[in-house]
């Protein structure tokens, strides 16, 4: 009898905690189109797999009337569960409890689950929905953030870390997501900024809405802080599950191998790329024509669109794709696209994911704004990340590969394992027009018909250098291939390099051009 009573007591205590900030607060949360913390966790995890810890944790702050405030679970839910059978650690801030504000015990719960994730070498998912620091807890609150940032950094490159912004995430709080690998945002729900519209108005006299300052769209299109955009929490949760399916559990194992599905036969790889190197096409069509099941999972789709990055599978194994996008800005390398590609290459390298590069670019974007924004430093990141990556690196030159862009995009010289070129490839120091104008400047300017002479010289140069065979004659390209051979050769190349072993010189860490 006594046992039954105690079990009933536990059940009652649990029920109370599960209500978080209470019916009224939950009502407000729902009115904003938001799920509660526990609903979000359950939506991401496999049915029945969630185990919650620290449900009865409470703060012991005394100042400013906090001694009379009872905050269920201290405003954050932590636990473990599985996603498609793979174990993950997860936390979700509960906005219904004191606005999800972060106090000492709240942060200790988060760091507890982070420590578990690192120790058990399983991915960490953090759902952010918080008004910020719990001001009443003063410096303890700041200490809490610092402890979280430290763990984000130490876990970086060891376990996948995913941040989901489902509410406000302001001030110092934004630095935890910024330190993680992938940030998910939802339109009209996510808000991220260091200083909010009110402070900006007071100090600078500039007026801006929260959405325009740090909404989902802004971080996906403009700042590049977020990686995945969705219009509802449900869409966001399915994106998270899909992403996790591509990732290994940690940096010492490989991603799960699934059954090989051939690409959709409706993609005709010979019909995608126009022969004229100045005409655009969507490079994602080439990826889809090659990747298993034509299933390409793009990352940062709305940011620096002149560079395409994302995951897919070849022969059932996860690979990362990096490709110039001729459809946008002719596929040039610039400040933002360099950042985007370089970080992704480092991600793939950290988690043993082979890198497949599709090259078609005219070079770097000219411009005062680019030079002043540091295109030298940012462009260098691409060279750095390709060079230091020791995972299998397979490169296919589709069309243009001019100048510094050729070197940067996973070339042989940065130790690509296999470099293939389509017969449409033009591997040269620059485009025919530019090269002819420089080499034959005298002949052109002194001719009676300069335009005619220029045309002749451009054709001459094209004939001689705008092809893959000069590079192939030096062994910089391993094989000139038909487009239809691409998938088979990539599959074979991956098979051959599956045991790739590279010894790098000892270093504590390099100094990439951040």
């Amino acid at each position: 009898m006594a046992l039954e009573k105690k079990i009933r007591e536990l059940k009652e205590k649990r029920e109370k905690m599960l209500l978080g900030g209470g019916e009224e607060a939950i009502g407000k949360q729902k009115a904003m189109g938001k799920n509660t913390a526990r609903e979000r966790i359950l939506a991401i995890l496999d049915d029945g797999s969630f185990s919650e810890y620290d449900m009865f944790v409470e703060h012991d702050a005394r100042d400013f009337g906090m001694d009379k405030k009872h905050l269920p679970s201290d405003g954050v839910v932590i636990g473990t569960g599985t996603v498609s059978g793979n174990p993950v650690a997860i936390f979700a801030q509960d906005f219904t409890v004191a606005g999800g504000s972060l106090g000492l015990m709240h942060s200790r719960k988060i760091t507890k689950i982070m420590d578990h994730a690192l120790k058990m070498r399983i991915p960490l998912i953090g759902i952010n929905d918080s008004g910020g620091a719990r001001i009443q807890e003063g410096v303890n609150s700041l200490a809490g953030y610092g402890e979280i940032f430290f763990r984000n950094t130490i876990s970086s490159g060891v376990i996948p870390q995913i941040s989901v912004i489902l509410g406000p995430c302001a001030g110092g709080a934004v630095y935890s997501p910024a330190l993680t690998d992938f940030v998910f945002v939802v339109d009209n729900i996510s808000k991220m900024f260091i200083t909010g519209p009110e402070v900006i108005k007071t100090v600078l006299g500039e007026e801006i809405s929260m959405e325009a300052l740090g909404g989902a769209r802004v971080h996906c299109e403009t700042s590049g802080n977020a990686h995945f955009f969705s219009v509802s929490e449900d869409e966001c949760f399915s994106q998270i599950k899909k992403l996790i399916s591509f990732l290994p559990r940690n940096n010492e194992v490989r991603a799960e191998v699934v059954e090989t599905v051939p690409p959709d036969s409706s993609y005709d790889i010979e019909k995608i790329v126009p022969g004229d190197p100045t005409l655009p096409y969507d490079v994602r069509e080439v990826i889809r024509a090659v990747v298993d099941g034509s299933d390409f999972f793009e990352i940062q789709e709305m940011y620096a669109r002149n560079m395409v990055i994302g995951f897919g599978r070849l022969g059932g194994r996860t690979v990362g794709f990096v490709a110039n996008q001729p459809l946008e800005m002719a596929g040039v390398l610039d400040v933002d696209s360099s950042d985007k590609a370089a970080r992704f290459i480092r991600y793939c390298d950290a988690f043993s994911i082979p890198i497949i590069t599709f090259v078609d670019l005219p070079g770097y974007l000219p411009g005062i704004d680019q030079e002043h924004a540091g295109v030298i430093r940012h462009g260098a990141k691409v060279l750095y990340s390709y060079s230091e990556a020791t995972v299998p690196k397979l490169t296919v030159i589709l069309r243009k590969a001019y100048g510094g862009g050729y070197i940067a995009m996973g070339s042989r010289h940065l130790r690509a394992d296999f470099v293939f070129a389509w017969p449409t490839a033009e591997i040269a120091v620059m485009g025919p027009e530019g090269a002819a104008n420089i080499i034959f400047r005298k002949e052109i300017t002194s001719a009676s018909d300069p335009d005619e002479v220029r045309r002749q010289k451009v054709d001459e140069y094209k004939e001689k250098f705008a092809n893959p065979y000069v590079a192939a004659s030096r062994g910089y390209v391993d094989s000139v291939i038909e487009p239809t051979e691409t998938r088979r050769l990539l599959l074979h190349g991956l098979e051959v390099s599956s045991g790739k072993h590279v010894q790098m010189p000892f270093k504590k860490h390099g100094i990439p051009p951040f």
Binding site: V203, L204, G205, E206, E221, T222, T278, L279, P280, Y281, D282, E285, R305, N306, P326, L327, E328, M329, A330, G331, V332, D336, P362, G363, L365, P366, G367, I368, D369, H372, Y402, G403, M430, G431, P432, E433, G434, N437
Partner: protein, 110 residues
């Protein structure tokens, strides 16, 4: 957006190394500010703020490094100085004025 829609929209042109490419110009590239070299005679606000004090009047002669005005911004009182020696030809603000970033507050001519 379907593939055809995207390619239809790709009808901008950009010149890279003497070659014109047909593509789509990004919003960011289209919106970039044209470069303008700095004019050393302009005394501009490098930050939004409030003018606290103006030390010169039109017609005054100033030396390089002379104080022109004090701009209160981010809890700091910033002394804006003349970059050149010359004559003050315009003072566009008075104490108490709030100014945006980049506003021309005064002009000095050689």
């Amino acid at each position: 957006m379907t593939r055809n829609d995207m390619e239809k929209r790709a009808n901008d042109r950009i010149n890279i190394d003497h070659t014109w490419y047909t593509t789509r110009i990004s919003a960011r590239h289209a919106a970039r500010k044209p470069y303008a070299p700095a004019d050393p005679g302009l005394i501009s606000s490098f930050i939004p703020g409030t003018v606290v004090e103006v030390m010169v009047s039109v017609g005054d002669t100033v030396q390089e490094g002379d104080d022109i005005l004090i701009l209160d911004a981010m809890k700091m009182k910033n002394r804006l100085k003349s970059h050149i020696a010359g004559r003050v030809t315009a003072v566009n603000v008075k104490p108490g004025d709030r100014v945006t970033k980049g506003a021309v507050l005064a002009v000095v001519e050689c």
